[in-house]
Symmetry: C2
Subunit: 181 residues, 2 copies
């Protein structure tokens, strides 16, 4: 009785998300999304109320993407903090635009902690492990480490920090050691 849908909401979100990943959120425009989806701008505005709703969807995908990235990142380090640090810095290096969208946003959406709380239940439990292992004030310890990791990652994103995984590993281990005492 009616025409078959050929450009789905998912397809549009896929295209827009890839564009955000490659060029950043501010370069997403209706016509450019349409071009990359090989269609006119019409299917976009059928699936979304407006460009804001589309970029909101892209943002949500970025959150999920990071959480998957972190969940699947190999845990090769000695402590959960170092694992978190290695993954976070690697994300900043490999996904600069997404890192900016998520962790240095111009318009605040979710806070760092909201994003991480979807990913770091394991980390939180590991904080308790650290506490059980004799560390007093594990919350303060986590804050310090997190600030350090965030600094290294932000500098990685901008190119002001460019160490190898091996060097980063050593740095994180050193710093964690320093903070534990």
């Amino acid at each position: 009785m009616a025409r078959k849908e050929s450009i789905t909401k998912q397809m549009i979100l896929d295209v827009a998300f890839m564009m955000a990943r490659e060029e950043g959120m501010q370069n997403i425009t209706a016509r450019r999304v349409a071009e990359r989806a090989n269609c006119s701008t019409q299917p976009i505005f059928r699936s979304f109320q407006g460009m804001d709703e589309l970029t909101d969807g892209v943002y949500d995908r970025a959150v999920a993407f990071f959480q998957d990235y972190y969940r699947l990142y190999p845990r090769l380090e000695k402590t959960p903090f170092c694992n978190l640090g290695m993954a976070y810095v690697a994300f900043a290096r490999e996904e600069k635009e997404l890192f900016r969208i998520l962790f240095v946003p111009e318009k605040p959406r979710k806070s760092l902690y909201e994003i991480l709380n979807g990913s770091t239940e394991n980390v939180k439990s590991e904080i308790q492990k650290a506490a059980a292992a004799g560390c007093q004030d594990p919350g303060g310890l986590f804050m310090k480490i997190w600030i350090f990791i965030h600094g290294a990652a932000c500098m990685t994103m901008t190119g002001d920090y460019d160490l190898s995984d091996q060097e980063t590993r050593k740095l994180l281990n050193d710093v964690c050691q320093s903070f534990m005492n």
Copy 2:
């Protein structure tokens, strides 16, 4: 023999810099600058080849502004590192847009180190003091502290870190202590 210039290059730069300070670089447009300068867009394009040249000038002013800010910031702390940290975090809190322009830029201009080298000759000399005071590898120490400070400042800019000066002071002292051992 000719009309007197009433809108100078300096006036335009002043206006554009204040706009960058309040709303960020990406909101600087020819017409908005003209409006705040109470003139048409014509004097802008007489003084500058194009908007890029104007924003370059704004960036240079931002660099100088930070360097002045840092030079004049009171030195109340026990170590030069803590002084640097307090000033840097305060700048991130009080000048969020300028901090973003300078230290989390989308298009890289000057690196962190280039900007600081205009401000931190004192810091560099203090590193040598630290070395003389018995610290081995003062360069590595400075890097760790700088990463930490940068993390705290970036989180301050985005609102993910919001501690009082007193709490920040304690945190910096703790962390410096940790790194020194």
